[in-house]
């Protein structure tokens, strides 16, 4: 039986841990709110961009020519893994690695380079035999737009110059505060949107200056938007996951403290009984 003093010490430790996890939960909640807002505010733009690309393709009768659509024999592939800088966010990072590692296994034998976004991702692959081409991270829990643009420039640059033939992203889609889904999506080449064979109603679009020039301007914006969306959703999922993990930790700590309080009372009771017994037996001995 532990002494009441020992139990009391443990209760104090558990309570102070609970205070920390509670604080982390609240910070995550605040960051989540901002990140979620960012995801929602950016959505209409991204959707419209997809739509505009579709309209543009549907309205052009000839094959669209833009480097981002070019499908080549894949000799070299790039995998961009987007996860978090910090831990203590439940299984968030592990889930992302699992998907990434699965893909790496499937593509065993192909020349692969990894772009790591998030400190955790870098650390995960540093100890494995995968070459990391570039690492970005330590953004303090939200998108750093300048760095995000650099990532886009790096990826599109490598694709256009033929240094890589296919680029995939592994990240998390933000579904709700408590839900996210790990996805693997092809970033480049972009799937060629359907072009209409016949001159239908859609082809009555006026293009200024020309559909080629609009493509030339639209595709880089499209690539940037895709990357921003992926990053924004990843951050929102991370904060959501961390908030959940910390809520659980706080609750567990509370339960533990309750159980320990019970133990403390028992120990105290035992001690009192023991002391009483000693006093009584002492008195008895004197009497005799």
């Amino acid at each position: 039986m532990p002494t009441p003093r020992e139990v009391k010490k443990r209760i104090r430790t558990v309570r102070s841990t609970a205070r920390i996890t509670k604080a982390m939960e609240m910070i995550a909640a605040a960051k989540l709110r901002r990140a979620q807002q960012r995801v929602e505010q950016a959505k209409p733009y991204a959707l419209k961009m997809d739509e505009m690309l579709g309209h543009l393709a549907a309205a052009s009768t000839s094959e669209i020519v833009h480097p981002y659509f070019e499908e080549r024999e894949t000799k070299k592939k790039t995998l961009v893994v987007i996860a978090s800088d910090r831990g203590l966010c439940g299984s968030f990072n592990t889930n992302v690695y699992r998907r990434a590692d699965h893909w790496l296994q499937e593509n065993e034998g192909t020349d692969i380079e990894i772009v790591a976004i998030g400190k955790r991702v870098r650390d995960h692959y540093r100890h494995r035999t995968r070459p990391i081409l570039e690492y970005y991270g330590d953004w303090g829990g939200m998108i750093d737009y300048d760095h995000a643009r650099q990532i886009v420039a790096l990826l599109t640059g490598r694709f256009v110059t033929g240094e890589t033939d296919e680029i995939n992203l592994v990240f998390t889609r933000f579904l709700s505060t408590v839900r996210y889904r790990v996805v693997l999506e092809r970033y480049l080449p972009v799937a060629r949107p359907e072009t209409s064979e016949a001159k239908g109603a859609a082809s009555e679009y006026i293009f200024e200056p020309s559909s080629e020039e609009i493509y030339a301007a639209l595709m880089p914006a499209y690539a940037t938007t895709k990357m921003f969306t992926a990053l924004a959703e990843s951050f929102a999922s991370e904060h959501g996951s961390r908030m959940m993990a910390m809520t659980n930790a706080t609750r567990n700590a509370g339960e533990m403290a309750d159980a320990l309080t019970l133990e403390f009372n028992k120990a105290r009771q035992t001690q009192i009984t023991k002391e009483l017994l000693e006093v009584v037996s002492g008195a008895e001995a004197l009497k005799g």
Binding site: Q41, Y45, H55, Y205, I206, F207, E208, I214, A221, T224
Partner: protein
């Protein structure tokens, strides 16, 4: 006669409501859009967007660069940045203008490492913000 106008940037929804008439800086000069305009997709340069809202009040905004699509009486404007004149950070715009001029001077001297097109684009964006700010203040 009105039509719907949505102005979207990667960061937020700037405007989404019915408007009477829209004037925007298209690739081949300013273009006016009225209700029932033919379907069009155009590039937008740095310039000024003007439209009359539901209360027929004139609204003015600065746009950097982007795209405008009109189809089935809906105009959608996608832009890198859109600001109302009061939201323009004039000090920042002036600083950007000076910086861009510096870059341009550097390219004329034949200095490498400075991207001429980017410098010109930066100057155009800054000049546009300054013009619109000064027009309305």
């Amino acid at each position: 006669m009105m039509f719907r106008l949505s102005i979207l940037t990667p960061e937020r929804v700037v405007y989404d409501a019915e408007v009477h008439a829209l004037v925007a800086p298209g690739a081949e000069g300013y273009l006016g859009i009225l209700s029932q305009h033919a379907p069009i997709i155009t590039l937008l340069g740095p310039g000024k967007i003007e439209f009359h809202d539901v209360d027929k009040k004139l609204q003015v905004m600065a746009v950097s660069k982007g795209f405008l699509e009109v189809s089935s009486n809906v105009a959608t404007l996608l832009a890198d940045a859109v600001e109302r004149p009061d939201d323009i950070d004039i000090e920042r715009a002036r600083a950007a203008y000076k910086r861009a001029l510096g870059w341009l001077a550097a390219t004329r001297k034949g200095k490498t490492g400075v991207d001429l097109l980017r410098a010109q684009a930066a100057r155009a964006r800054a000049a546009n913000r300054i013009t619109i700010y000064e027009e309305t203040h």
